[in-house]
Every structure is written in structure tokens, then in C-alpha cells.
């Protein structure tokens, strides 16, 4: 599911990051950028913080999307990579006194290796079995983080508290505003990279592996290598998101990274649209805000309300938000064609 060259016969105005742009899309992008820029100045700190988190989740979901959406490997364990990224950042900042900016590339490397190593044995597992193995990973990681063996580094059950960074160079922004800006910068960079990756030869290889692994290998694609690399890259993305999350929340503890998070990321993936990069933003916002909405509707039945909302969303958009957009736009195109 790549962003298709449009068939609306609208003139292509430009090509940004490899995406063919029509006037429509350019306007949407423009509005989006303006909104993004304005947010930190018009909203209260708490909301800025929430939006920052939503974007962080979106990045995490993007990582999952690369693996599951574009490469067809079913993962229910991405909370593990998120946790590793978060703890990498926390340990570096608290125990080693390293600046927060450096934690991102560190988390990226650590998670890439971790993901790649997990991807190797996972090569033998398909579908449901892989889902189970990743789910097991998601369950195991919080337990391992609590273990007394590594308590000295991980802080055991209590976790680690870190100091929220201030805006650099004396910019007139408070912590929340700066973190928002920082996150947006990182997010834009990562999304552009993801877009390029997906549209490149490598991206096509990934998609080929997803759709028909045997044909892909018959065409000379080294399926095993690509699948493991994809695991690594996917873990990298989610790990960086985890690091950002740790910095934003200023705290990491094993119980923040249970399978509930893994399930939430998965739900965000599907709701946004499997195989859609812009969809991950929808997913991120859904994951952050909908549980809160559910709780505000009914404290006692929060879970049930969330479940009902989720069912309704899936009924109305079985292929996610991206799928709905595609459906609507193709209907509009058809109407345009038949001169209706």
C-alpha cells in the first residue's frame, strides 16, 4: 500500500521525498505543518505533552508497520523494543550522565542489534507462531527488567527517574514546548526516511517478501537477510520512540512496558491502516486519547467502553483509517469519471 500516483488527472505540482504531490496533497501538508508549528504556542502545557506522546507512539507504530505492514511479519511484542530504547536512554542519562540527544542514536543502535538478533531465529516462524513468540518476548521483558540480576542498572521495580531537559541555547520555550519541537524534528526525519525506504528498491523487496515470499526468493531476493534486517529497522524505530518517551515522561519502570503496550501498538497499527505511513499518526493519536476518553465516559467500565469504541472503529473502517481514505477517494474518482 504505497501512496499511489493519483489518478485524478490533477497536475502533479511537485515531488517531495519521492511522493507525487497534487495541489490537494500539498495543501493538506501545508495545513498540517502550520498546525504543527502553532500548537506549542496556543495550547496548555499538558496538551502539548499529550500531543508529544501521541507523536511518539506514532513513531513506535511506524516501526511496527515496517515489520508487519510492509514485510508481513506479525509482531505482538513491540513493547519489548520500546522498553529497551527507553531504558537505554534512562540508563545513559541517569547512570552515565550523557546528554539526552545522544541517547537517541544509542537507542537506535542497541535496538537495531536486538531486533536483528531476534529476527534471526524468528525466520523459521510464520504467522501465528511468530505472533506468539513476539508476545512471549513482550511478557518476558518487563520480568527481566525487574530481575535482581540487573537491578543495579535498571533500578528494579522502582525504575529510574530522569531529569527533563530544558530548551537549548536559551530559547524562550519551556520544557514541554521544547520537547514537542524536538520530537517533531525527530519525527519528520524518521518519517521521511521511512517514506524513502518504502519507495526504494529495498522497500519493494520487503513488500515482495510480504506478498509472495517464494516468488521473491525466486527473483533473487535474499529473503532471510531482508527479513532480519527489517526486524532490526523496525526495532530501531520503536526503540527511538521509546527513548523519546522516556525523556518526555522523565521516568521508566518495568510495569510501563507490559504486553498492554504491545497490544496498544498493534491496535494503533490496525486502526491507522496496515501498510500506511500517514496512518500511523492516526494510530498514535488513537492509542493515546481513546483510552482516556473511555475512562471519562465511565470509570468503572472504562475497558468495556474502550472495547466498544474499538469494535465500532473496526466495523466502520475494517482496513483502518488509511483504508477508509482510500475508499472515499476512489469513490470520488469514480464519480468524477462517470461524470456524476
Amino acid at each position: 500500500m504505497l501512496l499511489r500516483p493519483t489518478d485524478t488527472r490533477e497536475p502533479l505540482v511537485a515531488t517531495i521525498a519521492g511522493i507525487p504531490m497534487t495541489t490537494w496533497r500539498l495543501t493538506a501538508l501545508g495545513i498540517g505543518l502550520v498546525v504543527l508549528a502553532v500548537i506549542p504556542f496556543v495550547m496548555k502545557n499538558f496538551y502539548i505533552f499529550q500531543i508529544t506522546l501521541a507523536i511518539i507512539y506514532a513513531i513506535a507504530i511506524l516501526g511496527l508497520n515496517l515489520l508487519t505492514g510492509f514485510n508481513g511479519q506479525f509482531s505482538l511484542g513491540h513493547s519489548a523494543f520500546y522498553a529497551v530504547g527507553a531504558y537505554t536512554a534512562a540508563i545513559m542519562m541517569d547512570r552515565c550522565d550523557i546528554g539526552y540527544v545522544w541517547t537517541l542514536p544509542a537507542a537506535a543502535i542497541v535496538c537495531f542489534v536486538f531486533g536483528f538478533l531476534f529476527g534471526l531465529p524468528a525466520l523459521r516462524l510464520e504467522g501465528v507462531y511468530l505472533a506468539l513468540a513476539t508476545f512471549a518476548l513482550a511478557i518476558a521483558i518487563p520480568q527481566m527488567l525487574k530481575s535482581s540480576l540487573v537491578e543495579h542498572w535498571t533500578g528494579g521495580v522502582q525504575g529510574i527517574t530522569i531529569i527533563k531537559p530544558d530548551a537549548p541555547f536559551g530559547l524562550p520555550l519551556n520544557s514541554d514546548q521544547w520537547l514537542y519541537a524536538f520530537t517533531v524534528i525527530v519525527a519528520v526525519a524518521m518519517y521521511v526516511c521511512a517514506g524513502n525506504l518504502v519507495r526504494s528498491r529495498t522497500g519493494r523487496a520487503l513488500i515482495a517478501i510480504r506478498d509472495h515470499p517464494i516468488a521473491a526468493s525466486a527473483m533473487g531476493i535474499d529473503v532471510a537477510l531482508y527479513k532480519s534486517l527489517t526486524f532490526g529497522v523496525s526495532a530501531l524505530y520503536t526503540g527511538v520512540a521509546g527513548a523519546l518517551g522516556a525523556i518526555a515522561i522523565s521516568f521508566v519502570a518495568p510495569d510501563s512496558f507490559t504486553f498492554t503496550l504491545a497490544v496498544a501498538l498493534f491496535v494503533g497499527l490496525v486502526v491507522g491502516g496496515v501498510g500506511s505511513i500517514p496512518g500511523t499518526l492516526v494510530g498514535g493519536f488513537f492509542v493515546l486519547f481513546v483510552p482516556n476518553i473511555a475512562e471519562s465516559v465511565s470509570k468503572g467500565l472504562a475497558g468495556a467502553v474502550y472495547g466498544v469504541i474499538l469494535l465500532l472503529v473496526i466495523y466502520l473502517m475494517p482496513t483502518g483509517a488509511a483504508g477508509l481514505v482510500r475508499l472515499i477517494s476512489s469513490r470520488l474518482v469514480q464519480q468524477g469519471r462517470t461524470g456524476g
Binding site: P121, Y129, I214, V267, G303, G307, L310, L311, I314
Partner: protein, 292 residues
């Protein structure tokens, strides 16, 4: 050596729980071709219903039977009503629907019956089985009932027409339709049966782990693990898998020093993954060979 034997038996006892759950998981998998993550919550909810019936004064076996029937009906209704709209959606959307179901059931159970731990009676009585504290009467009864269900299921699938129709519908829905089989209803029937089996599992497990809304999650995971180790296409394998998982978990907890109580789950799961790496379709599963 005696410790070893003791751990094996204790593992068999807990394994009985996992085997029961694994059986329900495999049942549903055979009917619908994916894992139902809400299986545990359905079982938990059924057990609460049984508990409520007992609170209202019904004798144990009446409550037991009624719960099975109610669970069966609920399973059919869930498939026909809740899952109908996602029928044609991709697999991942189905999984999200299961997750939604899980959330609803868990939350509803907590809301209706609150989160305090309740005790659930055992029909087998307290006390040891065969003396010497190797296994309790309940554990033995649980294992016995699981095996009995297995036998019944085997007879049902191999020797009844409707069992054959269900197998056909799951194996090749299009061809089954062309034979006039109402595939939708067969799937619903599969759900009903899985819900019923799940309810039995819940009612057998509750006396041991005590009844509360979050009781089933780790058990479901062990059930999945058992089903996968045994091979998702084999009910007998699921039962063996479930027992194996119980034994492995116990042995790992006892003999591997690094493993404290918190790590038992992780170790067990790691071992399961190891099994899968060696035998990707489980110990007894038949690898499905598809022609290119």
C-alpha cells in the same frame, strides 16, 4: 530423585489447567483458523456466571451444566453478531476485534462482580489423591475431565456427520459451500463449542487460582504455548503440550537457579520458542504443505 518426581507430578497438576485451556484454544483455531485472544476472558466470564448461580443457591452440577449451555449459546451469538461485520476484513482486523472483546469482558466482569478474590468450589472435594500429598483430588479430577473432554471431542469430530461438516468448513470453506454446508453456522458452532470448553476449563481452574477478573491471562498464555508446542492442528497434541508446559515450568522454577518466581513464565516461554525453532509446526502438528 523424589523431588524430581514430585515436581513432575506438580507440573502435571498445573499442566492439567493448561491442557484444558489449550484444548479450547485448538478447538477455536480449527474452527476459524486464528487464535482467539479473548478465549481466556470468555472462560473467566463463564466462571463468574457459574459462581453467581451457585451464590443464588443452585447445586454445583446444575450450575456447571447451565454454565456450559449458556457459554455455548454466548459463543454462537458472539460469532454471529459481534464478528459478522469483520468477516471479510483482513486477519489483523479480526485480531483487533478479539482484543476489543477481551477488553469488554474483562471490564464488565470487574464491574459486575468487582475485583476481590473469590473462592470457587471444587466438585472433587479437598484432600490428597492416593495419599502422600503427591496430587490433590481436584488436580486428579481436573486431569480426568480434560481427558474425558478430549475423548468426546475426538468422537465428535471423527464419527459424526456434523463433526465432519465442521472440519470441512474450516479446511476449505469455498468447497464446503459448494457441498451445501452452511459455513457461517459451522463457524458459529465452533465458537460455541470453544466457549463451552473454555467454561469447563475456567470452572476447573478457579478452585486452584481463585476467581478474579485477571486470573486467566497468564493461563491463556500457557494454554497458547501448550497448543503451539503440541501443534495447533492436533487436539491430542494440545493436551500433551499443556501438560508439557506445566512440567517444564515447574522444573525450570526448581532447577534453574537464576529463575525466581517472576521469571518462571519467561523461561517457560523461551523453552517453547526453542521448541518452535526446531519444530515450527509443533510436536504433533502436521506441517501444511501448500503447492506454489
Amino acid at each position: 530423585m523424589e523431588l524430581f518426581a514430585h515436581q513432575i507430578l506438580a507440573g502435571l497438576a498445573t499442566g492439567g489447567i493448561y491442557a484444558c485451556m489449550a484444548l479450547a484454544v485448538v478447538m477455536i483455531y480449527q474452527a476459524i483458523d486464528h487464535l482467539n485472544f479473548a478465549q481466556g476472558e470468555m472462560a473467566m466470564f463463564s466462571t463468574f456466571i457459574a459462581w453467581q448461580l451457585i451464590q443464588w443457591g443452585f447445586p454445583y452440577w446444575v450450575a456447571f451444566g447451565a454454565t456450559i449451555v449458556i457459554s455455548f449459546a454466548a459463543g454462537v451469538v458472539i460469532e454471529r453478531v459481534v464478528l459478522r461485520p469483520v468477516h471479510d476484513a483482513p486477519v489483523l482486523s479480526h485480531v483487533v476485534a478479539f482484543i476489543a472483546l477481551l477488553a469488554i469482558l474483562n471490564s464488565a466482569a470487574g464491574f459486575i462482580w468487582d475485583y476481590t478474590i473469590k473462592s470457587f468450589p471444587s466438585p472433587f472435594g479437598g484432600g490428597a489423591f492416593l495419599g502422600q500429598g503427591l496430587m490433590s483430588k481436584h488436580d486428579a479430577g481436573m486431569i480426568g475431565m480434560t481427558l474425558a473432554m478430549l475423548v468426546l471431542l475426538y468422537l465428535f469430530f471423527r464419527h459424526t456427520r456434523i463433526g465432519l461438516a465442521m472440519r470441512a468448513a474450516a479446511a476449505n470453506p469455498e468447497s464446503a459451500r459448494l457441498a451445501g454446508i452452511r459455513v457461517g453456522w459451522m463457524t458459529a458452532l465452533g465458537w460455541g463449542m470453544a466457549a463451552a470448553i473454555g467454561s469447563v476449563a475456567g470452572m476447573l481452574i478457579a478452585p486452584v487460582v481463585f476467581l478474579e477478573p485477571n486470573m486467566m491471562l497468564s493461563i491463556l498464555l500457557y494454554g497458547f504455548a501448550g497448543a503451539v508446542v503440541g501443534g495447533l492442528t492436533s487436539p491430542g497434541g494440545a493436551v500433551v503440550g499443556g501438560f508439557s508446559v506445566g512440567i517444564i515450568e515447574n522444573l525450570a522454577g526448581t532447577y534453574i537457579p537464576v529463575v525466581g518466581r517472576e521469571m518462571k513464565l519467561s523461561i517457560a516461554l523461551c523453552i517453547i520458542i526453542a521448541v518452535l525453532c526446531v519444530k515450527p509446526s509443533g510436536l504433533f502438528g502436521r506441517p501444511v504443505v501448500t503447492r506454489v
